[in-house]
Symmetry: C2
């Protein structure tokens, strides 16, 4: 019965117009609304936020057609739901979505860590929804709806983290939506995802934050482009990043230790005045960094 | 006799046109030529490089009016000489300038470390020149003449590092030239300078290089703006940066150790899953970083 219901709903999804609901109207939620409206011209895009002001602003900026503060009213209209809230709130919100949604509704999130949420979803028996974890590697240290743009996802990497328990059609539907938004979609396990983003996102964020904290305010007035570039990500909202660090703390701590060992080698080379060693480290980094553009 | 000679030369310097000679035609040398030609319209700007190709390119791009590969011919015409070569070559070049220059010629450099070169210059008894150390905090990970621009120094910080032995008029002349190029000039001791630039320039450079070296090439294909910003400076030419690190290795090693202690605290907080501590570190960094723009 459930399967057939899902089949019917899926068929509906294939035929536009469909209804997207975005929960959480920050930089990602707003940009996603703008991108969906641009690439799915016939679809309806609705928003949910606790803040009436944000809903009104998102409507005025054309990111959503309509929205509300009530899950029940808005989510019940959804074919596809994007949960765009901080990682430590996603589980609670997905549960509420499950209560409010039509049977077969496809739900994904955009959280920066996937292990915790996907393990939780796999254990869960949802009544109505089919959940697929996703994570667009896009964003900015400037959070907030006002920085949203339909182009945020152009060419961005999006990770999908299905497991054996993930509904195959839901997985295909979410992948195809992200692709239509101009992103490059990669599928990997939640754990592999968390390891990769620890390397390329959470580690640099931690390092940049430590760098800012290690330099005296008195010297900072002399900071130029080098310091500013190296520490730019440290500006980001700690309310968003604390739960990201916490939910990826094992991988991140492991990466920071490996990084620390490299720092130790540089300190050692400097202490010895070892020109060849210093040069080798700088040359390796320069070459490797140039290769990624 | 020498004093009076110097006095006469100084008088001449006050009355344009004067002749600037730039030794070394990389990003800084080229940009300096362009800026001098723009802000000192009546002055002559000459270049010295081992590379005939660079001299021709600098002439074609309008960064210098003329130049040559021979110190003797070009430097003998100089009122003011800017040595714009890697820090480990400055001493040798200043000695050659002293051989070739007219009595009273004012010489400065643009090296990123000042302790080694200024201590050396203070011990030296020059025959003809008056040396003042300077360091414009400007540049780019893109080295090379082709990236030069007259605007490179707009609003940049320039450090002057005079000592008790520094000729006062030379110091004033160099300060006034940098100011006319649109920079903000700060005077401090060579040691204080090296400590400050370790904080705001050499430390981020070392950290960025270690970060690149700590991440596997396999993950780097997923790097996005956060990783790219944080590691941008690591691209810079290791041939320029190895001597900078070596001549500032005591301060830099000290800074890296302080930085490592901050990293250790983050690793510890992650290992304990200490939300409040992680949040406090991220919030402190975010606030401090936002304050510098």
């Amino acid at each position: 019965m459930r399967e057939s219901k899902r089949g019917v709903v899926h068929l509906c999804l294939e035929m536009s117009p469909r209804t997207f609901v975005i929960i959480g109207l920050g930089l990602i939620g707003g940009s996603l609304g703008a991108a969906l409206r641009k690439r799915f011209a016939r679809a309806r895009v609705l928003g949910v936020s606790r803040s009436r002001r944000k809903i009104n602003l998102a409507k005025r900026l054309g990111f959503i057609q309509n929205g509300g503060t009530s899950f029940q009213k808005v989510v019940s209209q959804a074919d596809i739901v994007f949960v765009c809230t901080p990682v430590d709130t996603i589980g609670d919100i997905v549960e509420q979505v499950d209560q409010a949604a039509k049977p077969g509704t496809i739900v994904t999130d955009v959280g920066s860590t996937k292990g915790t949420i996907v393990r939780w979803a796999d254990r869960k028996r949802f009544r109505n929804i089919r959940f697929v974890g996703s994570h667009p590697l896009a964003g900015s240290h400037h959070g907030g709806l006002q920085y949203s743009t339909a182009n945020l996802f152009d060419g961005a990497v999006v990770f999908l983290t299905p497991t054996k328990k993930t509904d195959r059609r839901a997985r295909r539907a979410i992948a195809s939506i992200w692709k239509r938004l101009g992103t490059r979609v990669y599928e990997m396990s939640p754990n592999a995802h968390d390891r990769v983003v620890a390397h390329v996102s959470h580690l640099p964020h931690g390092v940049a934050s430590c760098l800012v904290n290690a330099v005296s305010s008195n010297s900072l007035r002399f900071s130029a482009s080098g310091f500013l570039d190296t520490t730019r990500v440290a500006q980001a909202d700690p309310a968003l990043w604390t739960p990201i660090f916490l939910t990826n703390r094992v991988h991140l701590a492991c990466d920071l230790k490996r990084f620390r060992a490299v720092v130790d080698r540089l300190i050692d080379a400097l202490s010895r005045g070892a020109r060849a060693d210093i040069r080798r480290m700088l040359a390796a980094a320069s070459l490797k960094r140039r290769q990624i553009g």
